[in-house]
């Protein structure tokens, strides 16, 4: 008798689980390659620093990583990031995975003399019409040197 009741309860739960709404279906916006991504900033600035090159020019280096958890489960071997500093035109930078599974970004700029640097990074993807590329999901982070 008890077993029958348990069976009925189990069948009821099974039925309810089958007809339960899929909440995630209305909230598909957490993949960073989604044009409608609404999540948080997907990269972390590791370091921004000034240095002088061999020619004695002052440069600003930007180092960033994209943590593995920000990526879809099938990771590409390479991604291209559209990066711009202080509103300068974006440049495409190829990034590769390190041993920790993080994608590393490094770029040196010859900036205008300033102590405030705003770095904007976006993902370069094939445009909707399949011709050319576009930058999506850009985030900007500013640092004071």
């Amino acid at each position: 008798m008890m077993r029958k009741k348990l069976l009925i309860v189990f069948a009821g739960l099974l039925l309810v689980s089958c007809v339960k709404k899929i909440e995630k279906a209305d909230q598909l916006n957490d993949n960073i390659f989604d044009r409608e991504y609404t999540g948080k900033q997907w990269f972390e600035l590791v370091d921004v620093y000034k240095y002088f090159n061999e020619l004695g020019q002052q440069l600003v280096a930007v180092e960033a990583i994209i943590p593995p958890e920000k990526f879809p489960d099938l990771r590409p071997t390479k991604i291209t990031i559209g990066a711009s500093l202080n509103g300068m035109p974006a440049e495409e930078v190829a990034c590769f995975q390190n041993f920790n599974g993080e994608f590393e970004f490094f770029k040196s700029y010859t900036p205008n003399i300033s102590n405030n640097y705003c770095i904007s990074l976006g993902l370069v993807v094939v445009s909707t019409d399949g011709e050319g590329t576009e930058i999506i999901n850009s985030f900007e982070e500013c640092v004071q040197l």
């Binding site: 007809v19 709404k21 598909l28 044009r35 409608e36 099938l74």
Partner: protein
């Protein structure tokens, strides 16, 4: 003891038949139930349409369930077949039974067949929508899984279109499923209620199917025909 006397009587009866010139009689009994019994000369009961008889004049009573016993007379000529067409009339009881049974069946269909068919249809429809709902739910989940895997924006656009499409169909079928469950429960409940009420208020009409010859004979299969022997004791 009774069986023994019957055997002896039947033996002498057959001996008598063998000794005389015989003819055949074939009854064409017009009944729609396919069953009839023929009593010849108040002594022999037939349950088939033809038999061999010695020459002579005979009187036969024919009965079939729901029909009035009809009496016919015929002559048997040696080595000839006599065909006897017998038109049967319905009994008043049977005519009343047919009317009552029709009413009974109509009430039955109204109380059970119709709501039962609706309940069954609704159950089949609900089952179908449940399968379709489950199918679209699974396809939606599969597409979401692809979404989590993909790192190509254009592919993601297509996946999201698929998710929206499948999820909309899932939700539609979910609504149909719930509606179907409601209707199935409603029709099933009504069927049970109506059938219970029907059983309470109606009794299946019957009519007397007993043969008027039943108590007159004991069953005893003959050698060359399905004749039955008169019960002596």
């Amino acid at each position: 003891m009774i069986r023994c006397i019957s055997l002896i009587a039947y033996f002498f009866f057959l001996q008598g038949l063998v000794a005389q010139n015989k003819g055949q009689v074939m009854f064409l009994v017009d009944v729609d139930n396919g069953y009839f019994e023929i009593e010849i000369n108040d002594t022999m009961l037939l349950k088939r349409y033809k038999t061999d008889l010695p020459e002579g004049h005979y009187k036969a009573k024919i009965w079939s369930p729901g029909y009035v016993v009809n009496t016919v007379e015929f002559d048997i000529t040696a080595n000839k077949t006599t065909e006897k067409y017998v038109k049967m009339e319905r009994t008043n009881d049977f005519i009343q039974y047919e009317y009552d049974y029709k009413q009974y069946r109509q009430a039955f269909h109204k109380s059970f067949t119709l709501p039962g068919a609706l309940a069954l249809t609704s159950a089949v429809y609900t089952g179908t929508t449940m399968l379709r709902m489950y199918n679209f739910r699974q396809r939606t989940l599969d597409e979401i899984e692809l979404y989590n895997l993909s790192s190509t924006s254009n592919e993601i656009d297509q996946i999201k279109l698929n998710v929206n499409n499948y999820n909309r169909k899932f939700l539609n079928n979910r609504t149909y499923f719930y509606t179907g469950i409601g209707f199935t429960a409603l029709f099933t409940g009504y069927t049970i209620y109506a059938f219970t009420k029907f059983k309470k208020n109606h009794t299946e009409p019957t009519f007397n199917k007993d043969s008027p010859f039943r108590d007159k004979y004991s069953f005893y299969p003959g050698i060359n025909s399905l004749t039955l022997q008169i019960k002596i004791g």
